[in-house]
């Protein structure tokens, strides 16, 4: 597993590519995305969706 923290104002092309309008914005495997802080259980659920383990 890789986890990147990206300071988006230094990489505007990434803000564009991933449609970052609010922060924190999380993108997992280019498949699942959400904005804002979420509880651990919900974060895990997003990770499992991105990995194809859970249905979205």
């Amino acid at each position: 597993m890789r986890a990147d923290v990206v300071e988006v104002s230094e990489f505007p092309h990434l803000a564009q590519r991933y449609h970052v309008f609010g922060v924190p914005k999380v993108v997992i495997n280019e498949r699942v995305q959400f904005e804002g802080a979420v509880p651990e259980k919900m974060f895990l659920s997003y990770v499992l969706q991105a990995a194809g383990v859970e249905e979205s």
Partner: protein
């Protein structure tokens, strides 16, 4: 010259005094001579390098620091999957996949400090159920968290 304040340095010294396990920051920057490759200007490379070196200093070397030139050390960069700068790789006994792109300032500085402590202690802070589910993942996962300076 130091980037972090005396007050922060004193707090960090205390927190890093208990570091036992290995932890190393591998930073990728580029020539800071003022010359830069067009399209590869790096606004916060210098500050990020200073921040990383400050962490090495206030930890009395418990936090290892390695600085590479992104353009000249292509091999190192690709070994860590680093494609943009400034980049900071947080390494423990092994590579846990943690990367910071852009200057880790403000709230991200606090996150980086927590990561350093966790990686050194080999603790994730996750609930056991979460950790078990992650270990069972059938494929690789890439999480990107986009933030802005706060």
């Amino acid at each position: 010259m130091r980037l972090i304040s005396e007050r922060d340095a004193a707090t960090l010294r205390k927190r890093f005094a208990d570091l036992t396990g290995p932890v190393k920051l591998v930073m990728f920057t580029q020539s800071e001579s003022g010359l830069s490759v067009p399209g590869h200007e790096c606004a916060y490379c210098r500050e990020t390098r200073m921040l990383v070196e400050d962490l090495g200093e206030v930890s009395d070397g418990r936090i290892g620091v390695e600085v590479h030139d992104f353009i000249l050390d292509r091999e190192e960069a690709s070994r860590y999957g680093v494609e943009r700068i400034p980049a900071v790789v947080v390494l423990g006994e092994r590579d846990h996949g943690i990367r910071y792109y852009g200057i880790p300032a403000g709230y991200e500085f606090a996150s980086l400090v927590e990561d350093i402590l966790d990686v050194s202690a080999q603790k994730s802070g996750l609930r056991p159920e979460t950790a078990a589910a992650l270990r069972a993942l059938p494929r690789d996962v890439h999480i990107q968290v986009f933030v802005t300076p706060t």
